[in-house]
Structures are given as structure tokens and as C-alpha cells.
Subunit: 148 residues, 2 copies
């Protein structure tokens, strides 16, 4: 098997990522709000703008998503004691349960298909996730935030 160039691999990565997203969405993701639940689960309560920045979307988009999630009962908006302009978005128990459900489904889809490939291990999956994460990291060229 010939070794494809890094450039070919790079564009393949985005093409296949796009297909995966559509596959999962059609299969069982009830809304784009899944990402939001995932963020809240990792970080705890956040304000809308902070959520939008983390998810790399516009603030109005995040407002809409949070509203949908709130209607579904998966998050609540509670007053921010430190700032009356904003509210903190909290993940509810139902939201946590929903997140678990979605994760099981997409995990099932991914790991089931991966299991058929004896040449690909969980380690390889971890590598794939690390690569995607690395690509998604913002550009900290001259001003690293130096968190310690």
C-alpha cells in the first residue's frame, strides 16, 4: 500500500468527517444541541457567550440552541449572581441522561463498525480523536495563554 501524502490525508480527514457527521445526525442525533450538553458536562454551568466561544459558533446560534435545550428540559437558565445581564446554563439530570443516551448510540455506531476491522484498535481510535482535537485547537501563535 502506497503512503498517501500529508496533504491528501488532510483533505480526506475533512471529507470523511463531513460524512460521519451526516451519518450520525440522520441516524439518531436529535439536534445540534448535543455538543452543548457535552460542553456543559465537561465544564459545569456557563453563560451563553462562553458556550458560543467554546463551541465556535455565533452567540445568536447558541441562544437558540440553549432555548431548545431548555424547552426539552435538558438545561435550565438560572440567574448569574455575579452579573444580571447573563444567566448561567445548567445541565439538568434529564440532560445528563440524554447525553448518556446519545453517547451510547453514537458509541455503538462507531465501535460496532470499528470492531469489524481487526487492523484498527482502540488505540487507533484514541489517535484519531487526538488528531481531530489538535486540528480544532485555536491558533495560539505568539500569545500562549500559559495556564501553568
Amino acid at each position: 500500500m502506497s503512503t498517501p501524502s500529508a496533504d491528501d490525508l488532510s483533505s480526506d480527514l475533512t471529507v470523511y468527517a463531513a460524512r460521519l457527521v451526516r451519518l450520525v445526525r440522520r441516524e439518531h442525533a436529535p439536534s445540534a444541541g448535543t455538543r452543548v450538553l457535552s460542553i456543559l458536562d465537561e465544564t459545569g454551568p456557563l453563560a451563553i457567550t462562553a458556550l458560543a466561544q467554546i463551541d465556535r459558533c455565533s452567540q445568536p446560534t447558541m441562544t437558540g440552541q440553549v432555548n431548545q435545550l431548555a424547552e426539552a428540559g435538558w438545561v435550565t437558565k438560572e440567574p448569574n449572581p455575579a452579573d444580571a445581564r447573563s444567566s448561567l446554563v445548567h445541565l439538568t439530570e434529564a440532560g445528563r441522561a440524554e447525553l448518556g443516551r446519545i453517547r451510547q448510540l453514537s458509541a455503538g455506531l462507531v465501535s460496532e463498525r470499528l470492531a469489524r476491522r481487526t487492523d484498527l484498535s482502540t488505540d487507533d481510535l484514541a489517535t484519531a480523536v487526538a488528531v481531530l482535537q489538535a486540528v480544532l485547537e485555536p491558533s495560539p501563535p505568539t500569545t500562549p495563554e500559559g495556564h501553568s
Copy 2:
């Protein structure tokens, strides 16, 4: 570092894939038709329904995308000598050039960000692509279509 479970990794894969897709689209992908150009480049001329199956989208969606691509001059629809109902979609020279342009851009975005990570190699990128491909493979376990 603790080793995350295969399930966690599986759901992470889709979440990050979704973010990557949005990142690339915002950055420079002029349309969803990129995938179609990519398929035609790999396979040669195809009819609409075949394209839709390969790209895992509905036939009307593919009809629309091919029309857009044809308007842009990146593909042409030519009569199928073997079947008057369908036409074969051909990639034009301009289409091939556009595909090259897009690939350069997304490859630049990916490899540039990846280059900052000394712990991730081109091999790891290849692994990531292989994992995504594996997940996207249809399920042909018991009923291979036996194309020969």
C-alpha cells in the same frame, strides 16, 4: 493520563468531527459540492443515483448539488449511451482545478495546525483517516454485493 473508554472516544469522534466540518466550511469551503468533486475524481464519471449512494445522501440532494456544480462549470452532464434516463456526470478540467484548490486550503489548515503538535505524526493522521473511513463503511457482513 487516564485511558478513556472506547465508548467515550467514539462519541468524542463524532463531536470533534462536527466541529471540524464547521471550521472548514466557515474558513473556505464554497459549497457542499466538494465531496462530489472528490468522488468523481476517484471514480470517474457516474450517474446521479450512484453519486448519491456513494455520498450517502438522497437523490434529490445530489441532483441539486450536481446542478450547482454544472452551473459553476466544474462538472458536465452528458448523455449516458447505455441508458437514456440517466446522464453521466463528468468532472471538467476546471472542476479538477477547483478540487485541487480546496484540497490545498483544507490541507493547509489541517497540516498547519497538526505541525504544531510534535506528538502527532503523519502516521497518526493516516490512522485518523483510516478510522473515519472504517466507521463510514456500509455494513456488508452477511450479504456482500458481489460486484464481479
